[in-house]
Structure formats: structure tokens, C-alpha cells
Amino acid sequence: MSTAGLDPTGATGEVVLAAREVRKSFAIGERSLEILHGADLALRASERLCLMGASGAGKSTFLHILGLLEQPTEGRVILAGEDAWSLPARRRADLRNRHIGFVFQFYHLLPELDAVENVVLPGMIARGGPRFDRSAARERAENLLDRFGLSERLTHRPGQLSGGERQRVAIARALFLDPQVLIADEPTGNLDTQTGERGLDLLLAEQELRGLALLLVTHDERIAARCERTLTMEDGLIQADSAHPVPH
């Protein structure tokens, strides 16, 4: 078991997302291949955490488990004080909807919806809350997009937007329900350096402004340098956990 990832900085903020002893195996024919060998993680509110590692190190699998998209073979994921993988699927989906915002490398917007509709989508999916107020949600999405410099692109569909614009719509969607945790998987990996830099600036500015916990997966050292902690994954384990000052 590795204890790296459990925050060596001694920070005292509330832990909003934690992984304990997470293992993941995949069946390949009759064999079982273990990808994660007992990974731990503690992510605090307002913390910016970077997860790095070579391809095949298991970081995507770990990210998916933390994002409640993939079930671990063993171990626990605690989100908003709840052991997420012990909950029924419906409750877990609700937890994911309300507490996690995803930003994907390939944006993953729905092509049939315009920018505003894509942003509003998590609100439509949300259950258990007050009755969905479409016009209020639309207004909120428009304000977000306006702030992200997309006021002229509200009714454009993803196919009519540039890569940078799509990424900003994806960030707006991730922030729509005010989640506690933002998970970004190579958020600038599909953009040129300049556009990627602007997208990252926006993401980090919003994270700071809202006091969100950010878990960011990247291969880029420069992006990692803008995070407070960097976890390095190797062979299914968190091998290094380094805290460093962040240039804002």
C-alpha cells in the first residue's frame, strides 16, 4: 500500500474527495490484470492537484474511479462525505451530477444542442432538487457563457465553434451546478499552445474564484507547475507527492 497522495503538506482544508486503497483489475481472457494496486488520494476544498504519469500508468483509470464512472475492484471513494461506490446507482449518479464537474480533452459536447443547451444539461439531469426552472437555468448559462466571452455564440452548435470556444463551453457546463470537485482530463491536450493557455487560465481563475477542488490530469510540466500539489503515478501506484508554491 502506498500512502503517497494522502497530502503530505499537512493542509487542513476539508477533504471533499478521497480514495482509500483503490485497486482495479481487468479480466483479460482467463487472466486478471491489476492496473491499480491500492492508490490513495485526498483532495481538499480549493486545492489544485495535478496527476501525472506515463501512458499506461493507470492515471485515467484512477481518474474514472474518482469521477464515479468506473467501479474499483477494491477500496473506497469518499465524495461529499459518502462512500460513493457503496451507494445505489441512482444515488451515485446524483452525487456525480451535483458534486463533480468534468472537463474532457475532447470537450464532449452534444452536437445536437447549442452552447446554452449544452451548459444547461447537468441542470436538466439533476434530480431531487426544486423543479427545474428552464428560463432561470438558461439565464444562468447565458451569464456564464457571457463571462467566458461567448455571448455571440450562445445559439451556436459545437460544430460551429472553434476548439477554444468548445472548451470554454465545456468548462461552463462543468461549473453550471456549482460542484465541489472539478475533474479535468488533459483539458488543453487538444488545443494549440496559445488557446490552451487561455483555456487553462480561465479554468484556474474559476477554480480559485469558486474555491473548488481541482483534480487535473496532464502530461505537461508547465501545467503541473501551476498546481499546488503534483501526484506522480507509476505502475498503478502514487509514487510521488510533491507540494510546491504556485505562481498565480
Binding site: G67, L69, A89, L110, P122, M124
Partner: protein, 458 residues
């Protein structure tokens, strides 16, 4: 919420979905239209087939077999017996025989007659007592119904065999002919026709007879078979023509083939009166066998035709249901394609908080929209087409220069159609359930997609 919104967006934005909608529209529309026409055929058949008959038909086997007793040749005792039943409203005796209309007097004329239509000139001679007949069957209506072919109706429908006013008196009896028969043979009021027939004489030999009659006017029953071949004539005149001996009061020949009976309430009493009459008439010696079908309802009499239409309706319903199944398969194929194509969207929705049940609901909703739009479209098209089938057929026939519905072949002069709201509701419900069943498997498959596999699908 998102299921309704997103499924509708998929329907609107993706043209392939409309193939499924169109398929259901065609299936539902065709099913409603065809079944309405078949129901119309059945209803119209019942009306017209009954119209020239009545509620019950009593047809005694007049010729004694195996040395059985002889039944009375006159309908009087039978009529008296039947009319005594309070459930009977009226009764009329028929004398029925066949003959041919001949233009001219020679055999050659008979063979090459009627070059215009090549019809054989066969006619059905129905001898009736006008007052009884008018009280028992729909002949009165047929005598008043305006002619489609411009033929002249009788002057007095209450006394159809009376000489029309202004006609010169003559030796020949007056008859009433079907409008198509009149049209085919160019008969007008006052025209003389020569009818030829053959019959057995008292020695059992076949002899022929011919006689001239004068046309008093025409009738239109709406039943082609009747309108093109039937001649109504006074029963005593026909009996006289056929050589029956005048054996009753007044020297009138008084033979009959059948007695038609109209009941006070046929739907209520029909079967019971039929059974009672069959038994009682046998006991009274007026029919030969209580179980041989000498007393029939009009439906028994036309059973071959009514049964055939019922069968056709059922078979067409089954065959056209296959159209709906094909449409269901189309929805199945389109949704399966959509699930494969939209794997990534399924992953995104799951990442945003959708449950597998929600994903399944989303794809079922697409099936629901397909079904709803298809059923509304098909329902409206089917009902409107069924109500207006006659003008539609006429417009199409004009456009293509080809008579689609040949009125000479069928019994009716228009395409009958009856829209049954219960039937329409059943078709729409069936189409709905069928479509949702076909949508269920792709929806279930979508729900089982692993979100990560779906998101990796780039």
C-alpha cells in the same frame, strides 16, 4: 426532463428518424383506411343485401321428393299463418323465375343481341303483390331513389304496375325494371320488351314461352346484381305467363316461390321467430322439413357473401398488421444505429449524472415520439382518406385515366367506408405498443453501455 428534451431534439435533428415515423404513418393510415372500407363494405352489403330481401325468407321445397306430401301451391295459408304472429310486421309472396330479353323475334336476334354491351340479356323475373311487397321490403325506396343513369322512375311508387298516365292502353302487362337493365337495353317508359323463357309443363317436358311487356319505369336498389337483371312484375301476371292454372278466386294464378317476412324487431326476435316458424310451419304442413333451412334469416341467405367480406376484413387486418411490424423493425434498426452512433453522447450523459434507467428512458422516448407522430399522422391521414375515399378514388381515376374502383364489378355505386372509432383506437394502441416494444431492445442496449467505453469512442 432531459429525456423529453433530448429525445425530441434527436427526432427533429436527425432525418433518419423520420423514416420510422413515415413507416408508422403509412402502416396506421393504411390499416385504418382499408379496415374502414371493409367495414363499409360489410355495412353497405348488409343494407343493400337486406334491402331487396326482408328479415326472414321462407322457401318451401315445392317439389316432393321420395313421395313426400304435396305442399299448397298458393302462398295464402302460409301468409295467413305468418301474419298471425304478433312479431311479424308484414309478409309478401314472391314468384321467381328466369328469362331473357329478346330484341326482335328470331333466334339470330337472341344470339347477337345487345351488341353495345355484349350482355347476355338474362333477367330475373320477380312476381310480387305490390302492396305486400312495398310493406315488406325496401322496394318502395328503390322506386323513389333518383336514377344515376337518367332513366325514368315509375309514376306512382305506391302502385308501380299501374299504366303510367298518358300512355295508350295496350294488351301487355306493365313491369318495373332495374335502372341498369333499362339503360343497357335502351328502355324508356312505355317501351315494349319481349321476354322469353322455358319451363316444364305438366307432363315434365320442357316448353318455351315468350311474352311482351311494357316498361312502367325503373328502380334503383344500389345493388348492381339486382339493378342490372331484375324485373318486377305482378305475381298473377308472371304466373299466367309461366302457364300456371288460375285456380283461385278471381281467376288469378296464385303460385309462389318464397315468402318474405318483415319483423317488428329483427335484431331482438329474428332468430327466435325463425326457429318458431320452422317448427310451427312444419307442424302445419306448410314446409317440408323443420331442419332443412326452408326458413332462413336474410343473413343466412347471404351468408356466403357476408362471410366472405368478414373473412376478407380479418385477413386484410392481419396482413396490414405486418406493415406495422415492418415499421417497428425500421424503428428498431434506426434506434440501434443511433445507439451505436451516439455511444459518446451516452458516456457524456452518464458523466453528467444520468442513470442507466435514464438513458434507457431517453431511447424509449425516441421510440415514443416515433410512435406518437406516426400514429397521429397515420390516424389523421387514415380517417380523412376513409371519409373521403369516394372523391379521392374519382380524382385518382381521372388523373390516371383508369377506373380504380369498378362499380360494375361491386355491388355498390360508391366506395363505402365506415370509420369505427373503437377500431381506430385499437389500431393506434397496437401501433404504439408495437413501436415501443421494438424500441425497448436498443434502449436496453444503450443503458448497458459502459460510460468509459462510450467516452473513449472518439
Amino acid at each position: 426532463m432531459y429525456r423529453t428534451f433530448l429525445s425530441w431534439r434527436y427526432i427533429v435533428a436527425r432525418r433518419t428518424n423520420w423514416i420510422g415515423v413515415v413507416g408508422i404513418t403509412v402502416g396506421v393510415g393504411a390499416l385504418i383506411l382499408i379496415l374502414s372500407i371493409m367495414a363499409g363494405f360489410l355495412a353497405e352489403s348488409r343494407k343493400t343485401l337486406r334491402g331487396s330481401l326482408s328479415d326472414l325468407i321462407i322457401e318451401p321445397f315445392m317439389i316432393a321428393r321420395h313421395g313426400g306430401s304435396t305442399l299448397p301451391e298458393s302462398p295464402a295459408p302460409l301468409l295467413e299463418y305468418v301474419r298471425a304472429d304478433p312479431r311479424v310486421a308484414a309478409a309478401s309472396a314472391h314468384l321467381t323465375w328466369g328469362g331473357m330479353i329478346v330484341h326482335g323475334n328470331k333466334l339470330d336476334d337472341l344470339i347477337r343481341q345487345n351488341p353495345r354491351t355484349h350482355e347476355d340479356g338474362f333477367v330475373q323475373l320477380i312476381g310480387v303483390d305490390a302492396t305486400d311487397e312495398l310493406a315488406t321490403t325496401d322496394l318502395g325506396l328503390a322506386l323513389r331513389r333518383p336514377s344515376r343513369l337518367g332513366t325514368t322512375l315509375v309514376d306512382d311508387p305506391e302502385d308501380p304496375f299501374a299504366p303510367p298516365p298518358g300512355t295508350a292502353p295496350g294488351p301487355y302487362a306493365w313491369i318495373v325494371v332495374g335502372e341498369q337493365l333499362a339503360y343497357t337495353h335502351s328502355l324508356r317508359r312505355g317501351s315494349e320488351i319481349n321476354v322469353v323463357t322455358v319451363m316444364p309443363d305438366d307432363d315434365g317436358r320442357v316448353r318455351d314461352a315468350n311474352r311482351k311487356f311494357r316498361v312502367a319505369g325503373t328502380f334503383r336498389s344500389g345493388e348492381n346484381e339486382v339493378d342490372k337483371a331484375r324485373i318486377y312484375i305482378d305475381r298473377a301476371e308472371l304466373a299466367d305467363f309461366l302457364g300456371h292454372r288460375p285456380e283461385h278466386i278471381g281467376g288469378r294464378a296464385d303460385h309462389f316461390s318464397q315468402v318474405l317476412v318483415r319483423l317488428v324487431d329483427y335484431p331482438r326476435d329474428g332468430l327466435q321467430v325463425k326457429a318458431d316458424l320452422a317448427r310451427d310451419l312444419f307442424e302445419a304442413g306448410l314446409v317440408r322439413d323443420p331442419d332443412a333451412g326452408e326458413v332462413k334469416t336474410w343473413e343466412d341467405h347471404r351468408q356466403n357473401l357476408l362471410g366472405a367480406i368478414e373473412n376478407e376484413k380479418t385477413l386484410l387486418g392481419i396482413m396490414l398488421s405486418l406493415v406495422l411490424i415492418v415499421a417497428g423493425f425500421t424503428v428498431f434498426a434506426i434506434l440501434s444505429m443511433l445507439v451505436t452512433e451516439k455511444r459518446r453522447d451516452i458516456g457524456i450523459l452518464t458523466a453528467l449524472g444520468a442513470t442507466p434507467a435514464g438513458i434507457m428512458g431517453l431511447y424509449l422516448m425516441i421510440g415514443f415520439w416515433d410512435a406518437l407522430l406516426g400514429c397521429i399522422g397515420g390516424g389523421v391521414i387514415g380517417v380523412v382518406a376513409a371519409i373521403n375515399i369516394d372523391p379521392i378514388e374519382q380524382a385518382l381515376s381521372r388523373a390516371f385515366g383508369y377506373q380504380i374502383f369498378n362499380r360494375e364489378v361491386y355491388l355498390f355505386d360508391h366506395i363505402p367506408s365506415v370509420v369505427d372509432p373503437g377500431g381506430v383506437a385499437m389500431i393506434i394502441t397496437g401501433a404504439f405498443v408495437c413501436t415501443l416494444l421494438f424500441a425497448a431492445y436498443p434502449a436496453w442496449r444503450a443503458a448497458r453501455l459502459h460510460p468509459i467505453d462510450a467516452l473513449r469512442y472518439e
